[in-house]
Amino acid sequence: MSGALGATGFPEQAVRARARAGTAEVFPPADSYGSRLYGATAREPEDALDELRLVPPVFMPRRLEKLIELGREPSYEDVDLHTTVGGFAAELPLYLSAFGSTRAGSGDLGVAAGRQAARLGIPMVIGENMVPVHGYSRGGDGMRSALLERIAAYTESVADGVGGVVVQQSTEDADSEVWNLLYSDPGTRALRDSGRLGFELKVGQGAKPGLGGMTVVGADEGERLAGQFTVRDLLGERGRLLRCATPGTFTEEIVRQQLRFMRNNFPLARTWVKFHPGRDIARAAATAWAAGADAVTVDGAEGGTGWAPRVFLDQVGLPLGECLRRIGPPAGDLLATGRIWEGGRAVRALALGATAVGLGRAALLAVDEDPREGLVRLARALALETRLLVSAVGKYRVADLDPEDLWSPNAPAPAPPPLEAPAPATPPAGSRTAGTPAAGTTPLRPPPVRPAAAGATSVRGRA
């Protein structure tokens, strides 16, 4: 354990334990078996998304479908976690969230996380401001910039046909033409030509909605960056300065046109967009999908960051669960981030419409704990929990998760449906149970189930 990194307010010790022990941490200690009894732990939910409980039904027509398909009783191991994430094939409904120019994310930890994401066969996002801060070197000087280092580490470790690298570009990055540089760089050609390069328009982030990126820099670096960023002496420590990027100005038309511009200029790259948890998130997401975005990332207010004003961490932005509720049935790939580290929260987000979930702080802590295996072990534990939970609700594909799999203590219990005539022995393919009717005004509750059972998965674009 290097232990250089801490994460205030985050279940750091639990993440580190998973980075060491992997799937063993999904269960109580094995040596306590036989000498200790277990039951609910009166766990306190962290937020409204955590407050939702996963609620397996008794009757499971999807399990019957799987039983018929397999010719034997299905188990949790039969849950298929392969997912298309923003145009990339992924082994898990998971991706590595952006960490950019902050010190925590741009050094060796970022490289280690990328390498392990590649081994896991999941996409990786590289954050903004890497080039204005760390430079972009090419050619024969033998030195690779932090950005190229991370891309190279990922490319070396990823198997054919899975994963992908997505690079953000901020307003300041646009000056450095980061996407343009990458698109024609020989080092990214293999990714690009195999359809595994993407670009993400970063509109905002969860930890500080409405603000641009912030880092703490030394006096020398501050002087160097002062031309491109706002650098101010506000931190009360000699030689430590606050570096702020601008958030960029966006309107509906600006988002639409920027996405169109990206698609026109980089036709072989996937187009992603990341929003902060704004109150108009549903409209923003709909605009992006309509403009052809391959994925919309929503970063809930619980999202992590390398640096932010305290008032923003605790008091600004919609929680992830509320964002997902407002978006409702997504019209394209929806990626959710914000305090994701274990299977329960991940599956809840997936049931509320997300295609995949992103690991940010959890990934950094895991590689900080073990630079070679930490993230792989963390992800395997999350994957095991996901398989257990998805199979428990009687489903065997992540895309089949649905708000009906969730229950909110704040929502009134649905009235029991009238008893119908006996159901046929074999359910028609694609059938599903009816969901909870929409009613009530509680701030977070499972949104109404998609209107038509057959249309539900295709609406989510990952049938």
Partner: protein
Amino acid sequence: MEIQTPPPLGEHLRSPQLRSAMLVQQEALYAAREFLRGEGFVELLPPLVGPVTDPGGRGAKALDVDYYGEPYKLMTSAILYKQASLRGFPRLFYIAPNVRVEPPETASTGRHLVEFHQIDVEVAGATRHQVQEIAARLLTRVVDHVWTAVPDVLRGLGRDELDFAELRQGKFDSCTHEEAVARLLGRGHPQNPDAEIDWAGEKVLSLEADRPFFIDDYPKGSRGFYDREDPERPGVLRNFDLIAHGGYGELVSGSERESDYAAIVTRMRESGENPAKYAWYLELAREGIEASAGFGMGLQRLVRFLTGLDALWQVSAYPKLPGVIAP
């Protein structure tokens, strides 16, 4: 497509084919200057470096220059300077050298060079229609003059005067971008309706034509922020390309320009640009830039069209193909 690359520079410079192309180029430049001066234009010499240049499209990049510690760019196009010059020079033109680091895959189009020149024209107060008319007459004059001045050179290169007959009578066709997309889709070519006509699509349309034609009304998002959006039809730009017949493709790109400060800033954001880096231009726009229309005619593309040679490098004395390291 197989990429045909230039021979070593010395051999290239000694080739009779290049000599013929340079004779044609010389006459084309002579005719262009004579025509434009006759129309009341003043020739200025364009800047080579500046804090910003025309933002790259389709993966083309600007080259960086360290200018006394400031990050400057080599001009990919001097469009912003053309607009800035209108107060003093309401009808102006450059023979402008440009450098665009095009993506390596464009080496095989036969229509891309990293270093190239444009006959760059701007007219204060003009409409799209008026500059299209200037572009058509300019092309007609150049073709007329070259066929008059060096007919044997053109014939020696295998050109047939009849192929230029319709053009020399001033016959130009036109269609909209939407119509061009529909024609391509109808022929099974997968053209993106939101984008510029792609290289392959342009070639298809160019081969089908027997005279040059304009394509009007490109959609917003396919071109730079300075192409004016039609106030009557949001999302449609008051711009155009002029495509040569015979498979030679685009010769000219032009448009009415955005001149309203707020519209320029908004359009910059829509194309992902950071307005701060255009400070000098935006200051001028705040003071007031003349409304205008203009175009750039690719000189090497014009000479290739006249000579009928396969690739642009054959009509450049010092060719630099995208992705190919050359002296």
